[in-house]
Symmetry: C2
Subunit: 192 residues, 2 copies
């Protein structure tokens, strides 16, 4: 039996990423965002949605750039902190014990301690309502060697990024493998 829950953002799962920017004084700031996802393969692009009231919003508009930084499961406390404090009030990197490193290809800082970082140049801005959607073209991905699999790609098993659940308002670890993509479904029908 299904129940109607109304007009709400109740979908699962969401990521817990940290958006890195430089403010007008050139100070690094990081803000946690669960509203985002990959949005194009060519050019490789990722989107994040940010409220206009945030410190990060103006920084993205001014610098036309941001980074997306993926924490490991044991960095979830720092990621959560970056989502509740404001860069207007405090140096969030310092309080969280994190280091900002200038990105190589865009005007934004990487969270050095987080194992996976994307350098993004702003290519589209879509005002939706409370949130504005920023599309960033991925100019480079940087990853700790320790999270790479045998194909040289970031491994979800090794990185273990926190998964955000809007339903529980909580973070979760990644669990057991369920099967290979573009493969397990072939059992159901003939695919050319």
């Amino acid at each position: 039996m299904k129940r109607s829950l109304g007009r709400k953002t109740l979908i699962l799962p969401s990521p817990a990423w940290v958006v890195g920017t430089y403010d007008a004084q050139g100070e690094p700031n990081g803000m946690t965002a669960a509203w985002g996802g990959i949005c194009c393969s060519k050019p490789p692009s990722v989107c994040v949605s940010i409220r206009e009231a945030t410190y990060t919003y103006q920084a993205i508009v001014d610098r036309q750039a941001f980074t997306v930084n993926v924490p490991a499961a044991d960095q979830v406390k720092q990621a959560d902190y970056l989502g509740i404090a404001s860069g207007r009030d405090v140096d969030k990197f310092a309080v969280a014990g994190l280091s900002a490193v200038r990105a190589e290809h865009v005007d934004a800082p990487l969270v050095d301690e987080f194992p996976l970082n994307l350098e993004c140049a702003l290519i589209h801005t879509v005002k939706i309502g409370l949130h504005t959607l920023f599309v960033g073209e991925i100019r480079d991905v940087k990853a700790e060697e320790s999270i790479l699999n045998e194909k040289g790609r970031p491994s979800i098993e090794k990185l273990s990024p926190p998964i955000f659940s809007v339903g529980e308002a909580a973070y979760y670890a990644v669990g057991a493998p369920l099967g290979p993509a573009f493969t397990i479904g072939k059992d159901l029908g003939d695919i050319e």
Copy 2:
């Protein structure tokens, strides 16, 4: 030690959602999409990115509507199938043993067997490159009673949606809770 991986869509995690549409003949179709996420709280909105070459693309443009359907972990085989076959060639719902039910508020079908369904009206279209980003305003969320928590919200523990890893090209289950959001980070600093 970090390594540069180049301009790639290598971020984690991604969802594995099924986008539901009606084609020009009014036949239901479902296509798996990992490129998407929530993109606004007010109006509540979700985005999915779709290649122009897909059958789903034209259906969204024609009907100005789509649904986003979230499978449970034990439906991952069906979800994977919907991502590799094309609605041009086969009735994917029939092959996968799934039922299409007309959405209440938009001109698109829900995947009845999947426990969580969002009815979306198209409000923005952004051509990025290979993919086009569609922003859908969420007109209703429908959920199986069995996946709701004590607050009446979809529970990631009860639903157990597959998590897609682009690094492994595989699906994963949701693991153990890591802590409450907007809470565990408060240990790190004074928050007003």
